[in-house]
Subunit: 149 residues, 3 copies
Amino acid sequence: MSTLSDIEVLTIERACERLIYEFAEAIDLRNDAHLDDLFSEEATYARPTAPNSVITGREVIRKTFESRPGGRVTRHICSNVRITVDSAVRAHGVSRVVLIAGPTEPPADPQFGFKADARQLIGEFDDEFVKTAAGWRFASRRGRVILHT
Amino acid sequence: MSTLSDIEVLTIERACERLIYEFAEAIDLRNDAHLDDLFSEEATYARPTAPNSVITGREVIRKTFESRPGGRVTRHICSNVRITVDSAVRAHGVSRVVLIAGPTEPPADPQFGFKADARQLIGEFDDEFVKTAAGWRFASRRGRVILHT
Amino acid sequence: MSTLSDIEVLTIERACERLIYEFAEAIDLRNDAHLDDLFSEEATYARPTAPNSVITGREVIRKTFESRPGGRVTRHICSNVRITVDSAVRAHGVSRVVLIAGPTEPPADPQFGFKADARQLIGEFDDEFVKTAAGWRFASRRGRVILHT
């Protein structure tokens, strides 16, 4: 990392932080196809509620999300994002996430939205990032749940 | 955007992100006058609980906030801020917000503050930013509520 | 601040923002020794639930945290971080924090973690930062609680 300038480090940090928010948005809006733009081809993923079940490969990751049942609205509130740049092509990071979710029935109240479940999950992600020909991507995501309401 | 350097892009992103936090602070602390420093003169705004009621003009926006009743303490917890720079004078962004609020009576407990309402709102903002002679400002804010506790 | 470049300002902002997240992680993971890397030697600190009890000195701060009882899991969700750079060696900032905590007994459910207390605290920090020979550090932290669930 000694060869990277301040601006290079900041730009990499920003790119990786952005991936975290784009991941949240993709799965919350069920834009599962966009996951292909966020993970490297050989990426691995373990979701927070199944931290020991690691799945491998971008296509497998996307298909796993595509196979989720519908009828739920989720919002992942991401915070405490801290990226560490290891080299021009590698970085890692930690972040926290609060998952707020609820059923999509009955329809959303225009004013207050959907009623959330009483149980919210508070979790964390350990991420590794790699720079590919297409830009920065998740090389691995490992989630875990720490607390629930 | 092809003519902007990395540092220019990062600086614009940071300026726009900052507006989002300053807006939250201005309305939470009832420093409504500061809203004049955050919106462009012709800005439009729709608050999350009334997404189809768009109000127009910086002065109208400020007066709308000034006319709110008192007796409430609010904290807008902003997250997942993702700014996209479109040009040297235009940008747009998305972010999430959790609104936690409660009555100001009885007085705050020095240790634990005010008792919050059971209902928290989880919402989003779509923002457009413009660079004015005075710096970056909101050109438009569109809020909506997605979930409530 | 007129002598600082955009990249210098961004780099300082990022360093200070990072301290806020590292502080949260240090106390949540009970890595109290790491607090020595976050505060200046003469730093002062007032925790949110005791805003008028200011303690002074890095060693005192660390020992105060070390003396906390165990048996609790905490996660500080930090947000709305806004750093203002005052000079090449001074900055200040504001941020918000939601504290979610619970007992560590019974053991965590692998899927959903520990059960959180019903009461969450929503607070704020006013921070001052100083650049030391070892890098940017907290010169002072003043916390306060605004709301609780």
